[in-house]
Subunit: 640 residues, 2 copies
């Protein structure tokens, strides 16, 4: 372990003191980039996901693009409006889990928690995969083996987060940088468009092989799928609501303002990018082989890079800058999950829905266990999806909208309860208005959830539909277990355990060597009422030799020899201890077990194997304590 400590310190840095937990009270100028990076970053792929679904029907269906984008924007504003109510109602920072837990109880609470935990995993997987895709669009070496590159990127995020380095003001510059880049892109596009300059993507003249001709119901279904994919633009909104306490006062008001600001910026970006993608006639398809015109050996570039190339034309430096900004914001978005996941699992650990140790912070003031779980599952996800954003998106949105819907339902309940306690007319009207907004929010988000479920079910959403109840049941099971144990252990008011009258100490001895002698003298030092050394006779000769040496050495403790007709060491001792206990039920029995501390893992197989089994069995006898008397072998001291 000491060697491990060295490596740990090298990778993770020195431990941080409690009082170095940053006390944040953030101005809007800092808060927006910190909490909005996740929501803003989804603009890097939302448009592309809509176009990808439409491309299944060939070039012609792209005409539906603007309408789908409009629908997404409408839902976005509804959800933002609804979350402004959440923020106002819970200025101490009601994340979806807390809001649902308080208003709807623990069942819906763990469902939301499960959905959110899955979403955090997918935030990492999707954002990192999208970052690699954009990187591969400008630096071809990253266009192959995307799953592997994404896994490597996640590994880097993990180390940064375990070091506690990836937090705070790190977010400010890149977010503004991204917003500015997209701003320049859109403004340039508008100007060139007004000037009537031609702007054509490299793929403008390529052709898409339609998978099918979609008409009637099939067409409606396809459009629903495209809309569902587009709603990825909404992911990340809750981050603001989760972090209300970090804002400057008045917190709720500043947070709500931030949400409004976020909505305007984000939707302007989304609309702008979508418009430009259609204007420059970007063609994109699920598989490279479905595009006629793509040079052999090349991979498709992301929509945002293609748009930038078309708009900026010869100023290719700007394309590189925009790509860099995009990659950066996507990595930061992935990083937000590293704040959220451990925080949520820590809350769940505190509430007893997950193992309690998740609530204990690690050395670097971070919830290391949560970070490691998050990274592990995300790496599996990107490797399975081979870094394909579209494949991951199918799973992503379900969880988001489960959380949205239940959260809005919880808010409706919240306001209804509030109405029961408020008599003032004006106040009642305000509350009723809030309830109306959340009701609209619930209707909108639950409808989207339904659309997402139906249109994406066979394409991966079923995994989430399966995983959410499983995780929820596990969490409820853990909760029940902890509650049961707490009831079992609760000490009654007056209760005070009776003091045992006598202490009967046994020292286990197999040979006369230093560890045994030390165990005997330590046991003597505790001055028990009765002290015996005990040995199990497996081989008559060995035992006779031991007894002779024991007497020769004049050790002032009687040596009791237990016969073992079955040549088994454990059972005679257990039977002897049980006999002592039943003869003197008020006696406390302490068994001293000399133990070797070894230096190498393989030495474990050579020592202590029977004492480990013995200790396990002794623990089951009431009124028995087991004292291990450690003896450090030289090999264990080498790393000191």
């Amino acid at each position: 372990v000491p060697l491990g400590d060295g490596v740990k310190r090298l990778v993770l840095g020195r431990a941080l003191r409690n009082d170095r937990i940053p006390r944040r009270e953030l101005s809007k100028r800092t808060a927006i980039p910190m909490f909005a990076s996740d929501a803003l970053s989804s603009n890097a792929y939302a448009t592309q996901e809509i176009l990808l679904v439409l491309s299944l029907g060939g070039f012609a269906l792209l005409a539906y693009g603007p309408w789908i984008a409009l629908a997404v924007i409408a839902v976005f504003f509804i959800v933002i409006g609804a979350y402004r109510q959440n923020v106002r109602a819970y200025p101490d920072g009601g994340g979806d889990y807390e809001v649902v837990l308080r208003n709807l109880g623990s069942g819906p609470g763990v469902v939301v928690a499960s959905a959110l935990l899955i979403d955090y995993v997918l935030t990492v997987a999707v954002a990192v995969s999208a970052a690699i895709a954009n990187l591969g669009s400008v630096i071809p070496v990253f266009s192959g083996y995307r799953g592997i590159w994404a896994a490597i990127a996640i590994g880097m995020l993990t180390v940064m987060n375990l070091r506690g380095a990836a937090r705070g003001r790190l977010f400010v510059l890149p977010t503004y940088f991204f917003v500015a880049s997209i701003g320049v892109l859109i403004v340039t596009g508008i100007i060139r468009s007004v000037l009537g300059q031609p702007m054509m993507a490299e793929s403008a003249n390529w052709d898409i092989i339609a998978q099918d001709s979609f008409t009637g119901l099939a067409l409606a279904f396809l459009i629903a799928r495209a809309f569902a994919s587009g709603t990825t633009a909404l992911t990340g909104i809750q981050v603001v609501a989760n972090n209300v306490p970090s804002f400057q006062k008045p917190q709720a008001r500043n947070a709500a303002a931030t949400l409004g600001f976020l909505a305007v910026i984000s939707m302007a970006m989304f609309a702008g990018i979508t418009w430009l993608a259609l204007r420059t006639q970007v063609k994109i398809a699920q598989r490279d082989s479905d595009l006629i015109g793509l040079p052999i050996g090349e991979s498709q570039k992301t929509v945002i890079v293609q748009v930038a190339a078309a708009v900026f034309g010869e100023w290719w430096v700007l394309v590189g800058i925009l790509a860099a900004a995009t990659v950066l914001i996507l990595l930061l978005a992935a990083n937000t999950a590293y704040q959220g996941f451990p925080l949520l699992s820590s809350s769940l650990g505190r509430d007893g829905f997950l193992p309690r140790q998740l609530h204990t912070r690690g050395n670097r003031l971070v919830y290391s266990n949560g970070i490691l779980v998050l990274s592990g599952v995300s790496v599996v996800a990107v490797l399975l999806a081979q870094g394909n954003v579209s494949a991951l998106i199918q799973l992503y949105i379900v969880g988001v909208f489960i959380a949205f819907s239940l959260s809005q339902l919880a808010m409706m309940r919240h306001w209804s309860r509030a109405l029961q306690h408020v008599g003032d007319r004006a106040e009642r009207r305000i509350i009723a208005r809030s309830r109306l907004i959340n009701t609209v929010g619930f209707l909108a988000t639950s409808s989207v959830l339904l659309i997402v479920l139906v249109s994406k079910f066979t394409r991966g959403a079923w995994i989430v539909v399966l995983a959410v109840p499983i995780i929820s049941l596990v969490m409820l099971g853990i909760h029940r277990h902890y509650e049961q144990v707490a009831r079992e252990l609760a000490a009654a008011e007056a209760e005070s355990a009776a003091l045992p009258t006598r202490v009967h100490a046994l020292v286990l001895v197999s040979k006369i060597h230093k560890p045994a002698l030390r165990a005997v003298s330590y046991a003597r030092a505790t001055r028990p009422t009765v002290l015996e050394a005990v040995t199990v006779q497996v081989d008559e000769q060995d035992t006779r030799r031991l007894v002779r040496e024991w007497e020769a050495r004049d050790i002032p403790v009687t040596l009791k020899v237990l016969d073992s007709p079955y040549r088994d060491i454990t059972r005679p001792i257990l039977e002897y201890v049980s006999a002592i206990r039943s003869d003197n039920p008020n006696d406390l029995v302490i068994v001293y077990v000399p133990e070797y501390i070894v230096g190498h893992w393989w030495e474990r197989f050579l020592h202590n194997t029977s004492s480990a089994r013995l200790k396990k069995r002794l623990q089951l006898i009431p009124g028995v304590m087991i004292t291990s008397v450690p003896w450090r072998l030289e090999s264990s001291k080498r790393h000191d």
Copy 2:
């Protein structure tokens, strides 16, 4: 664990007492079948293995069969003669390992032991595979998936041996049954041959596709391979030598007589079967597809079943009986390894070449650990070889002849040493004669070893050539480790550990509940010099609540609050304990850790996780004992 005990008793039966270890003093009539079954059973496949190698050169090479068989018989008699010397020299039962260890030292000793361990594994694998092959020759369902069937058979042997049921007189009848069956077969063959009746195997008119035309050196090489395969007939001879103490007195003489008897019977069987196989013109090939004439969908039958079918003709009941006898003796032969392997690994455990626990017997008077290892490795072997006897034979003979050669070398050394101490002329002549016999034995067996190594190296022998030194080095490493530890722990004559003057007891407390209160009262019962309850402050509020309740309950022990600036529970306690030790170096520190005993494996993840880590670290501080105060959760009592 209690549930496991129930299952264990169901499968393994009740435990046996020490005094029920059978005291064997066996008449030759009982001893021969018991210890000869392994050697005799190899006749069931030795002939076939010779023919299989020759078949690579096509039908024509079968003419070499008789000469190869003669060479095998010659070596057999030499080895038997040599082992009669071993038996006389070590009437207390010198197995090859003990003989080599005593005469050549621990290096060659572990080499022999490694070779023997590997051989025991292969005895099981080969014999069981051959049993399945014979079974498949009369009951077609067993002719496919031979690896699986063999694995199942090994599983059954394992359970029988763990129950301790597969021992003793079980061997007597089947061995005589097998010898009698083969006797009837050979006699019938001779009579029909004398009467001039035609005896043709079903495969007599089939043709073998030669793999190559072998001439010159290649032919010599092929014949060497066939001879090497034929020497499998020698496997199992040592079993008699290993078991001399079990014979009636005069033990050495009876054992030597048994060896002579075994040699005559076994070689008569081998010669008879080989003659009949050539006489009935049995054709056999490595792969079914190399045989022209074999009906599609059928598998080849074993040589012994084909011979029996040819000899017994219409009396097909006799064929079935002979096949049954063969299967039975092969399973018994496999079973001998279940006696030998645990016995040898127990000796190795006793001598410190393997983990000591292998020397401790299990409940059923058997060395359970050894049995489980043997079964595990054999199952892997038969699955990898898909139950193919020929594939396994390649590995088998190497180990056997390594043991033979080193054992004979050790005997040469033994007699040379004896010569130095003996003056009497007549005695010297007898010893010199014994030495000559063992020298011839050594020359013969080491030559065969060389032939086997060269002719089989690329076909599998290399695995054993690689494994023997690896296993040997591991064993020597273990030995060195144990010796080092023994030196480290040896208590000097006069040494007696100094008695610590004061006892400083700490009780770890996180909450006030029954386990904590019990730990406090148990610690009080031991009346230490100083007693403190210790808690680590992770959350200020929680700690304040704890302190308030502690005072309200009037617990007569001071509660010490340790601050944890890093929110880590382990470190503050370690630092506190170290501080106590360095302030009072003569004090003994006892840390009482309340622990939960859980009932289900998954509950482990929910409890005790930090106390396990803490205990590990506390063990490294000198002068500290850790006492666990167990608290059984209700869930752990359900199986009582």
